[in-house]
C-alpha cells in the first residue's frame, strides 16, 4: 500500500508537460511509434500479396510459356477469353456451384434448423436435437480432400458403393459412370458439395435461432399459428442477418472451389465440370499458357473482391445498426 500511494503525484507531474499541447497532438505522438509494429505484417503483405498480384496482372497482358521472356500482347488474352467456350463454361459452373454450396445448403439449413429447434427440441428434448445436429455437422470436420477421396470411391463405376447398391435393389439399369459421364458428373460433384455444406448452415442457423426470443414462438403458438406459419413469419425474418452472411460467404467459397474438382474430376470429362480456379491452374501448370491463366485468375479475383466488398459493407452497416 505504501508503495502505491506515492505514485499518483508522479504521473501528474510527468503528464503535465505533455498536456500543455493539445490532446490531439499527444495522441499523434504516441501513435507514431506504433508503425514499427505494423512493419512485419506490411512487409509480408507486400511480398506475398501486393507484388505477386501486380505480377499476375502483368502476366495477364503477356504471352508467356513459363520460360524465356514474356511477350507483351496487351489485352489479347482477355479478348481470347471472351471467345473461349471453356471460359464461359467455367463461370457457368461457378453459378451451379453457388447453387450447390450456397443456395441449396442455406435453404435446407434454415428448414432443418427450424425443424430441429421448433419441432424436435420441444417434442423430444434438446438432446435429440443436438444429436441430430451433430450428425448433420459431421462432414464439416473432414478435410475437403478426404471428402473428395471418399466420394470418388463411392462413385467408382465398377465396384463403387452407389452402383453396387443399385444392382442389389434390382435397379441395375440405373448404373452410371457417375463422375466419368458428362451428363452426370456435374450433378455428382454438386451432390458432394451439398453434403459438405449442410452441416455448416444448420449449425449457424441453430445458433441464430437460440438468440431469438422464445416468447415470439410462444405467442404465435397461443394465437394458433401452425408450424409453417411460424416458419414463414418468425424463423425466416429473425434469421435474415445470418442468412445474408452465410449466402455471401458461401458464394465466395463457391467461386473459389478447387480441391473437390481436382480430386473428383480434374474438370472433366472434357470441360463438363471445369471451374475458374481449375481452369487457371491447368493453364498455368498443364498447358503452360501462363498469360492466359493469369487473365482468368485476375477476372476471378475481381469478381471475388467485388462480392467481398459487398459483404464488408453489409457487415459494417449491421454493426452500426447494433450500436444504435
Amino acid at each position: 500500500m505504501t508503495a502505491v500511494t506515492p505514485a499518483p503525484p508522479a504521473p501528474t507531474s510527468r503528464k503535465s508537460p505533455r498536456t500543455t499541447g493539445t490532446p490531439r497532438r499527444t495522441a499523434r505522438e504516441t501513435s507514431r511509434g506504433y508503425w514499427i509494429y505494423l512493419l512485419p505484417g506490411a512487409v509480408g503483405f507486400i511480398a506475398i500479396v501486393a507484388i505477386p498480384f501486380g505480377m499476375n496482372l502483368y502476366y495477364s497482358l503477356t504471352s508467356w510459356r513459363g520460360v524465356g521472356t514474356p511477350k507483351f500482347v496487351g489485352l489479347d488474352n482477355y479478348i481470347r477469353l471472351v471467345a473461349d467456350p471453356a471460359f464461359w463454361a467455367s463461370f457457368l459452373h461457378s453459378g451451379a456451384f453457388i447453387v450447390a454450396m450456397a443456395v441449396i445448403p442455406t435453404a435446407l439449413g434454415v428448414f432443418l434448423a427450424a425443424v430441429l429447434f421448433d419441432y424436435i427440441a420441444p417434442k423430444f428434448g434438446t438432446r435429440a436435437a443436438s444429436i441430430l445436429r451433430a450428425m448433420f455437422y459431421l462432414p464439416q470436420i473432414l478435410p475437403i480432400v478426404v471428402a473428395g477421396v471418399l466420394w470418388k470411391w463411392l462413385y467408382q463405376p465398377q465396384y463403387g458403393i452407389l452402383n453396387t447398391v443399385l444392382d442389389g435393389v434390382g435397379l441395375g439399369g440405373l448404373r452410371q459412370n457417375w463422375l466419368g459421364d458428362a451428363d452426370t458428373s456435374m450433378l455428382a460433384v454438386m451432390n458432394v458439395l451439398i453434403w459438405l455444406q449442410i452441416g455448416y448452415t444448420v449449425v449457424v442457423f441453430m445458433a441464430g435461432l437460440s438468440r431469438v426470443d422464445p416468447a415470439l414462438y410462444e405467442a404465435a403458438e397461443i394465437d394458433g399459428a401452425g408450424w409453417f406459419q411460424r416458419f414463414w413469419s418468425i424463423t425466416i425474418p429473425q434469421l435474415r442477418p445470418e442468412i445474408a452472411v452465410v449466402l455471401i460467404t458461401t458464394s465466395v467459397a463457391a467461386l473459389k472451389v478447387f480441391a473437390p474438382i481436382y480430386v473428383l474430376t480434374r474438370g472433366g470429362p472434357g470441360t463438363s465440370t471445369i471451374v475458374p480456379a481449375y481452369f487457371s491452374y491447368s493453364n498455368f501448370f498443364t498447358t503452360t499458357q501462363v498469360g492466359y491463366g493469369a487473365a482468368v485468375a485476375s477476372l476471378l479475383a475481381l469478381l471475388v473482391t467485388i462480392i467481398a466488398i459487398v459483404l464488408l459493407r453489409y457487415q459494417t452497416r449491421n454493426a452500426e445498426g447494433f450500436e444504435k
Binding site: A7, Y34, Y37, I48, V146, T164
Partner: protein, 282 residues
C-alpha cells in the same frame, strides 16, 4: 425462486434455453403423436444418410478385398484386416506426410498468430491513422483467390530457393492467414479498456512492455482460438502446398491424398483405407 428452480438441472445455460423445458412440459410431450414421430424418423433417416459414407469407409477400410469382391461393400467384415491401411500407410510413407503436416501447420499457426498480434497491436492499440483502410487492405489478402497469386509465388520462390521447401510455404501461408487474425484481433483490441493502457503509460511502460505485459495476457484466449483455426486451415489447405511442394518427401497429408486419388483405383478397399487414414488425425 421456485419457478426457476427446475431449470438448472435440465440445462444450465442462457435464459433463452431455460424457457424450453417449460414449453416441453406445457404442451409438447402430450402432443408428440404420429406426425411427431414421423418427422423424427424422417430427420433421423436424413441424418443417417449424412453419416452413411463415414460408416462405409470405416467398415471397408478393415475388410479384406476378397470379401469385398464376394459380399459387396455393405456387409460388415467378418474379420478385422489391416492390410489395406498398412499398405497405404507404408506405400505413401504416411508417417513422413503426417510429420510434414504437423511441422507446417504448427509453425504457420504460431507465426501467423504472432504477425496478427503485432499488426493488430499497431492498429487497435496504436490507433494508427487510416486504420480502417489498413484493415480493408489486409482483408484483401484473405479474400483474394490464391490462383491470382500462385504463379508469381511459384516464380519468386524458385528464384529465392524457397521452392519445394516447407519454409517457403510456411512464410506464405502465415502471411495470408494473419490477415484474418489481424482483422479479428484488431476489433478485440479496439475495445480494449483505455484506462488500463493510460495507467501503464503513465507508469512509464514502453510500448513493448504494454504489448508483452498487458495486451498479451489479456488476449490469450483469442490467440488460442486463432492458433487452433490457423492449424486446422493449414492442415486442410490444398492448393498452395500442391503447387509449391512437388516432391514426395515434402508433401502434406492433404496433398498426398489428393495426388493418390488418381491411382490405386484397381484395389477396391485402398481408397477407403486412404480416407480413413485422412480422417483419423482429424
Amino acid at each position: 425462486m421456485t419457478t426457476t428452480a427446475p431449470a438448472p438441472d435440465t440445462v444450465p445455460a442462457t435464459p433463452v434455453r431455460r424457457q424450453k423445458p417449460a414449453r416441453t412440459n406445457r404442451n409438447a410431450r402430450s402432443r408428440r403423436g404420429i406426425s411427431g414421430w414421423t418427422v423424427l424418423i424422417l430427420l433421423a433417416g436424413a441424418a443417417a444418410l449424412m453419416i452413411f459414407p463415414f460408416w462405409l469407409a470405416l467398415i471397408n477400410a478393415f475388410k479384406p478385398s476378397t470379401e469385398y469382391i464376394a459380399d459387396g461393400p455393405i456387409g460388415i467384415p467378418t474379420q478385422l484386416d489391416f492390410t489395406a491401411i498398412i499398405d497405404f500407410w507404408v506405400g505413401v510413407n504416411f508417417n513422413q506426410k503426417l510429420l510434414n503436416s504437423v511441422i507446417l501447420s504448427g509453425s504457420v499457426a504460431l507465426i501467423a498468430a504472432t504477425l496478427s498480434l503485432l499488426s493488430a497491436f499497431a492498429i487497435g492499440i496504436g490507433r494508427l491513422k487510416g486504420r480502417v483502410w489498413i484493415l480493408a487492405v489486409f482483408m484483401l489478402a484473405f479474400t483474394i483467390p490464391q490462383e491470382a497469386l500462385v504463379y508469381p509465388l511459384f516464380v519468386l520462390s524458385r528464384e529465392l530457393n524457397l521452392y519445394d521447401s516447407l519454409l517457403g510455404v510456411t512464410i506464405i501461408l502465415a502471411v495470408l492467414q494473419s490477415a484474418f487474425g489481424t482483422y479479428m484481433l484488431a476489433s478485440v483490441l479496439g475495445s480494449f479498456p483505455m484506462e488500463v493502457l493510460e495507467a501503464a503509460r503513465l507508469d512509464g511502460a514502453s510500448r513493448f512492455q504494454i504489448l508483452r505485459l498487458i495486451v498479451l495476457p489479456l488476449t490469450r484466449s483469442t490467440l488460442a482460438v486463432l492458433v487452433t483455426f490457423f492449424f486446422i486451415w493449414t492442415w486442410n489447405d490444398f492448393f498452395l502446398p500442391l503447387v509449391l511442394l512437388p516432391s514426395a518427401s515434402n508433401q502434406t497429408v492433404s496433398v498426398s491424398l489428393g495426388a493418390l486419388s488418381g491411382q490405386y483405383t484397381s484395389d477396391p478397399t485402398a481408397l477407403a483405407a486412404a480416407s480413413m487414414a485422412g480422417i483419423l488425425p482429424a
